[in-house]
């Protein structure tokens, strides 16, 4: 030890001993800490809140507020949880609305046929055709009211295309009374009445075409396409029924009616070819087995006979096997109505599949959201655990033996 070291040791001891033990104040009791636990957890809890805040803000900025999902305009994919998560709720609403539209369309088609018959009969006042027409109007109005109510309840927040189509459908429904007044109060020809009803039906069906808009689920899109095609075919078949009904009621075709009948038949066949392509083999098989039977065949034969009549020729259609009290027109009407009912049964089957799929998509979306939140919770818990661990380690490291 050097001289400096010895001297330093001695001087330090002397300086220290200048402090008299008696002069040192006694140790005061430590102050009781207020809410020590809260203070200890303040930092990690604040950090956790900050993390949650950042994540929430990011999600709001990136995806919009909860409950409002932007329309999914991506093309259909085979499977995609994100796509399903976006379109699940919409798909369920759309499927529900589509069911209401399909029922309304069926009712309107029947009204179209009744209107054509009523007009072809010369608009007789207080007659059976008029009563039938008015009765069918009540049914259509009931279905329209149900559709409008459902649309107002669930139509918000749909993808833009579907929303536009829905508005058009609602407008068309609102214009139905004016069309009925025109049928009853003016001398509009039957073909024109049929065409105007067809236009209304086509507008309603446009909404059903949009059910799949924005959906990322291939199965859902395929089923909706199949339904849409089948509805178009049924619409064409309903036009055939109405045109030939009117023609048979008066015993002859009026100008353009046979051409329109031929066009409707062509459209039906073309759409059914597309249906065979788009739909699954099970759906095609269902259609072929459901829309079949003697009545369907007879209706097809009667239609073929009507189409085969040369322009300007007398309307002669052989009555197929049917109850004796059935006229040719009544037979055609009943058999074609039977055919349409079978087509509608297939549509209902497709709607059920669509509804089930949309429900599945909805649950899948819910599950995706739940999984996302669970992942988020795990991340937050991990961050919190990390923060607590770091805090504790920092605290204990200060106390550790070095």
């Amino acid at each position: 030890m050097t001289d400096v070291e010895e001297r330093l040791r001695r001087d330090l001891r002397q300086a220290a001993e200048r402090i008299d033990p008696a002069s040192v104040r006694p140790l005061r009791a430590p102050r009781r800490r207020r809410l020590p636990g809260l203070v200890r957890w303040l930092a990690p809890v604040t950090a956790m809140a900050a993390v949650i805040g950042v994540i929430f803000a990011t999600s709001v900025v990136a995806g919009g507020p909860a409950g409002h999902t932007p329309p999914d305009t991506r093309p259909a994919r085979t499977d995609g949880a994100q796509g399903n998560a976006v379109s699940g709720q919409d798909a369920r609403q759309l499927a529900s609305l589509a069911g209401a539209v399909t029922t309304l369309v069926a009712s309107t088609e029947d009204e179209q046929d009744d209107a054509a018959t009523y007009v072809a009969d010369g608009r007789p006042a207080a007659s059976a055709p008029k009563l039938i027409y008015q009765g069918q109007q009540s049914v259509t109005t009931l279905e329209a009211t149900r559709f409008v109510s459902l649309a107002r309840r669930t139509g918000q927040g749909l993808p833009p295309q579907a929303h536009t189509a829905l508005n058009a459908a609602l407008k068309q429904v609102a214009e139905l009374p004016a069309l009925r007044d025109q049928v009853v109060q003016t001398q509009t020809p039957a073909l024109s009445v049929i065409q105007q009803y067809s236009l209304a039906i086509s507008t309603l069906l446009t909404f059903d075409d949009q059910i799949a808009s924005g959906s990322g689920d291939a199965v859902f899109v395929r089923d909706v396409n199949a339904l849409s095609l089948l509805q178009r075919a049924e619409d064409a078949a309903a036009q055939e029924r109405a045109i030939l009904d009117a023609a048979l009621a008066r015993g002859q075709f009026q100008d353009g009616e046979q051409d329109e009948l031929s066009a409707a038949n062509l459209q039906e066949r073309n759409v059914l070819i597309l249906f065979d392509t788009e739909a699954t083999s099970a759906q095609v098989h269902l259609y072929n087995s459901a829309v079949a039977g003697p009545q369907v065949n007879s209706a097809t034969q009667m239609l073929a006979q009507a189409l085969a009549i040369p322009p300007g020729g007398a309307l002669r259609v052989t009555k197929p096997p049917a109850p004796a009290f059935f006229t040719v027109q009544k037979t055609w009407h009943e058999y074609m109505t039977f055919t349409l009912s079978k087509m509608r049964a297939v549509e209902q089957n497709l709607l059920t599949a669509i509804s089930a799929r949309s429900q599945a998509l909805h649950w899948q979306a819910q599950r995706t959201i739940l999984e996302t939140w669970l992942k988020l919770a795990v991340v937050v818990l991990a961050v919190m655990a990390l923060l607590v661990g770091v805090t504790r380690r920092r605290r204990t490291s200060r106390l550790a033996v070095r």
């Binding site: 050097t2 400096v4 070291e5 001297r7 330093l8 040791r9 001087d11 330090l12 001891r13 002397q14 300086a15 220290a16 001993e17 200048r18 402090i19 033990p21 002069s23 040192v24 104040r25 006694p26 140790l27 005061r28 009791a29 430590p30 102050r31 009781r32 800490r33 504790r392 605290r395 204990t396 200060r398 106390l399 550790a400 033996v401 070095r402």
Partner: protein, 182 residues
Amino acid sequence: MADEAGGHVRAAGDTTAVRSGAALAVADLFREHHLELVRLAALLTGNQATAEDVVQDAFEGLHRGWPGLRRPSSGLAYVRSSVVNGCRAAHRRAAVARRYAPRLAERPEAAGPEAVSAADDRGDLAAALRLLPRRQREVLVLRYYLDLDVAEIAATLRITPSAVRSTSTRGLAALARRLRED
């Protein structure tokens, strides 16, 4: 005083066994090392009152942090580090006070009748020590007052042993120069 102080510590409101054990252990440490640590702080700060406050805060912190202590035997090292850190904080506060209120500031070297320093005590190395940089002063006090070895000083100051050695050498050289100048 030590017993009284230990009683104060035990009376701090702890009821669990761990807390009671902590209070007893802190009381034992206090009894054995309080005066020594006050003197250490006084050598570092130059003021007995400040030194007492620093040591009291250090023991309070030890009492509070005892449950998190990995090894009870590290209590003394912890409180020693706390005292050194507390002295640095006191220096910083005093420096800030001097900077912003020079006339009112209480300089450690002239802190009244309790002042440990003896600036006029020419040849007193303890006084000359206060003119050294803080790190050198801490190392020399820990080494030549508390007789800590290099590893203990390194742990207390959170520096490497080689830094302790070099700092000590430089500090001693500076003191030797000062002695020669005197």
